[in-house]
Symmetry: C2
Subunit: 336 residues, 2 copies
Amino acid sequence: MSTSRGARQLTIKEVASHAGVSPMTVSRTLAGGRNVRPDLQERVMAAVQELGYYRNENARSLRPGQPSGLVGVAITNLANPYYGNFALGVEEVAAEHGRRIMLGNSGEDDARERQLVSDFIGRQVDGLILVPTSGEAEHLRPERLGDVPLVLASRRVPGLEVDTVLLDDVGGAYRGTVSLLDAGHTRIGFLGNRSSVFTGERRYRGYEQAMAERGLVVDPLIVARAQQDVAAASRAARAMLDLEDAPTAIFSANNRNTIGALREIGRRIREGLPGPAVVSFDDFELSELMPVPVTIIDHDARLLGREAATLLFSRLDGSAEGAPRTVELPVTIEHP
Amino acid sequence: MSTSRGARQLTIKEVASHAGVSPMTVSRTLAGGRNVRPDLQERVMAAVQELGYYRNENARSLRPGQPSGLVGVAITNLANPYYGNFALGVEEVAAEHGRRIMLGNSGEDDARERQLVSDFIGRQVDGLILVPTSGEAEHLRPERLGDVPLVLASRRVPGLEVDTVLLDDVGGAYRGTVSLLDAGHTRIGFLGNRSSVFTGERRYRGYEQAMAERGLVVDPLIVARAQQDVAAASRAARAMLDLEDAPTAIFSANNRNTIGALREIGRRIREGLPGPAVVSFDDFELSELMPVPVTIIDHDARLLGREAATLLFSRLDGSAEGAPRTVELPVTIEHP
DNA sequence: CTGTTAGCGCATTCAA
DNA sequence: TTGAATGCGCTAACAG
């Protein structure tokens, strides 16, 4: 038998005595076996197997300079499939580098993000990847982070110069809006994040710019920039479409707003009301089956995650040094 | 100034000398301040602030019996929004209990799951929450896990008696199939996971049972049980619908298969071909806007995650002991 | 209420 | 090639 019950955890000492060697031989064997006789290695591995021993990674990384192999990841909304894919991309690259991720959901809440970051640091993460909330970023300043590298994804934080992966928000929003203008629309509603959210601001800028170029003034009545979730987005779309002078097209700046808008549009169509054309920043599944034409400003959240992780590991592996870099990933416009 | 750069990490010693107290006073203060004079506490907290000190949680949990505050979570496919929501549910409850989650994606791969679990244990997790892959479960047996509590979600592992959260797969699939039969369909295709996947088997059973009750024999030609992703599901749906004797309705046993099937169905409808009715186990966004009627067998992935975490913490907090429990969450049928 | 001592599991020294 | 001593950061247990 080989049960390992008992409150006390198994240590290299037990493995050592079981294998008839010193703890150091066990340690060396587990570290790759350099300078250990093959037969001793086998004895050690056999003992490890038999006892069901797991090396204590925490104790291991206690020594200063030793990496913990952990990466802290904080995202704003895991319920959004977009961020699920982002997290997957990060996890994949981390796994390829033998690292594990600790995942926290900030829910767009500053205080929560601050908690997460300090917890991550307390757990000795080798690096941080954040989709930052938009508030104060006191806790992300280099003095607070010590030498823990930070990579921002999707959004920048004002005044914080660190490695960042962004999308071409302005260009994508611009091109998406232009496609509506080219189709003859002049009254185009906007649904998006509040302007303090980095992407919210950038995507609005692209929209506004396209409108301005055609000499169109944006009507505040058909601009809604406060919705974080699907239900709120639905309500905002409804208010806009119920107007006397309703928009004939809607630019939606993100996935959550798009779903909300389409839900409302679907409801209207079932009631025999007309549905506006939609341009959506962010893809979603089955967009091709919608009852109104939906143009997608598409990008790959998983790739965004992979890029963020790649940036981080290039710092950790020492293969990149010097000034912070920004990677801006392109977006593609997909017509219905 | 108060920079904390430098390779060496900040310790309670530095905080102690900065505050003019002993390390123990710092430790006690950080632990809640019991039996420490208020003025000393203030001095300590000031020093912590000023130096930007973070307590080393790894060193802290080195002592046997001390919880690490970490929960290991392994899921099979983060790209599936369903599991994103599941992870969110787990994260929420963990956060409510002051715990952090380490997240790994197994990708339905046994070996990967095994790696994840041993890594988690090596990092001293207080507990594990798994959506198990379907292969060998050697590495999940109690002897291997020592005293780390395990909760399974969504799927059971044969021969492994542990706390488990399931859905009413059989009942849901049965009721969903019945709704198709009641609508007059007799030739109903099945798309699902391979039978070695727990839910794949259970949902097939519900389907088969409903068919049998009406005296219908399942035709293997319109049963496809190998697709893991959307593209494969699309191909399987296509093959089925291209048959001379194509099904008039499709039962899809999970989200990925539903999306794939609908993609194919949408393509056919655009070509003027008829589209079969669909019943989907798992909800997806905008299902109400599909070009064919889609009945949803709905359930709450986030709640599943919350239940799994709740089960785990009830073990950790000692509020539950004894025999493994199984919670089976109900599903609801939503007609189009 | 405060400080000193000791040891958690492991790996980097150094000595054999 | 192997082993013994030492210390990583922190906190029980024990003095004071």
